[in-house]
Amino acid sequence: MPDSPFWNKRHETMPREQLDALQVRKLRSLVEWSAEQVPYHAARLGDAGVTSESIESLDDLRRIPFTTREEWMQSQIEHPPYGAILAAPEGAAIRYHMTSGTTGRAPIRVLDSMKDWEWIAEMWCYGFWGFGVRPADTVFFAFSYGTFVGFWGAHYACEKIGCLVLPGGNMTTEARVKQIVDMNATVVCSTPTYALRMAQEAHKLGIDLASSPVKRLILSGEPAGSIPATKKLIEDQWGASAGDTAGMTELGTIMVFECSDQPGGTHIIEPHYIEEVIDPASGEPVGYGEQGERVVTSFGRGFIPVLRYRTRDLVVKVPADRCTCGRTLDIYEGGIVGRVDDMKLVRGTNVYPRAVEAIVREFTEIDEFQIHLFTAEGIRDEIEVLVEIPEADADRDTILKKLAVELSGAHEGLRFGVRQVENDTLPRFELKAKRLNDEREVVGGAGERKRS
């Protein structure tokens, strides 16, 4: 069979009405399985009057109650360590994972079986294959291989495809960069932040990554993989194409991927998920092109059924024909554009870290940055951006002034301080970057102040 651009062509090019029918069929099975195996879901579905037989169309999905992270966490507290959400006995599991814990909250703990892991890897296969990864590739994983699920599924996906896998756990950044070059890796997987970190390290080592065999980067773990300025910076520094993906521990794997046509967004793997977009305040669905919160229903992981889970991710769904690749899978324009709880209110203006990053990354002289929120004179919210500019001949004054003007212009005239700090003093990250440091004693605009 000739090389196909699709991992599963029938799935990826399925006409919309067939896709809807498939999702309805799978939803019935999921509801039946959840109601029979998980008393927690049985009670909620029963209260809502939802049975598998009563599901006739995708409109019936909205009769199923939302699930929230808070409810999941509460269940873990009441029924440790996993919560009353398992659909199979613990003894049937082969692996344990948990959320990364970068937010400082208690982690969500998950279990999966042998066949669940086949599915987890399969979702990554859609993404890797769709971005052009093939058996002849040598794939380096800049990943620590711990209990955070991260790229575990991606590793197995590459083995499934038949690639040569280089597992780059427990290595310094210098050792990783050297191994990528020494072993002629053609694909590198990391977070967007760490892709930039490795490029900085290569520069220090006198290694020109753009002339290395690396042709593709698969990015995950942060929204930055779809921020145009960040993506361009990564692609320029590596001389390679960068493809965004996004997943979550609650699903065990990715639910979206960017194809090799790079439409400026990520395709949703709809034969395996229903992805709704809702107004986070009202819970009502929003249409194509409108920003809202992702709500996911997963058909893949049987061990922990996921029904209408409110992710807090902000997305903008657009039709599949926005892309030229031939897939009929809808797209999240710009990938995951932020988090519902990422937004900071500074003197009455909404500030999203992603929007700040999109502007900062336009200034290629800036190596690393941090958003700093603090309280001035005991009452006033202030925001400043701390930047590192390592190049000795950079015009620092002009960069700082111009950045302040652009940040202000993009935020309704909000005054931003921009300050240069010493090189290598801001934190670096391998996993999810945390570039917002909120040290305010009080937060909120005038008249709505409250203790943080």
Binding site: N8, H11, L22, R25, S29, E32, W33, E36, Q37, A87, A88, P89, A92, S113, M114, K115, W117, E118, W119, E122, P271, G300, G302, F303
Partner: protein, 74 residues
């Protein structure tokens, strides 16, 4: 819901001969493990379970509703 289930090729969609051969292989493996898995030596049983897990994903990718396999150990 019965956990482990044999796959019946769909009436409304034609599978090609290669796909049908995989359905047959999956059904045979599941049947063998259900009926006489305990008689197999550990190396045979556990490698067969891994094979079922891989073929389960083929059935899933073909939308043949393979259900769950937890009681089988997959």
């Amino acid at each position: 819901m019965q956990e482990t289930r044999m796959i019946t090729p769909p009436q409304d969609r034609r599978l090609n001969d290669s796909e049908l051969a995989l359905v047959e292989a999956y059904n045979k493996l599941v049947e063998t493990l259900e009926e006489s898995g305990d008689e197999l030596e550990p190396f045979a049983r556990h490698n067969a379970l891994k094979a079922v897990a891989a073929l389960w994903q083929v059935m899933n990718g073909l939308d043949l509703d393979p259900g769950q396999l937890y009681t089988l150990g997959v």
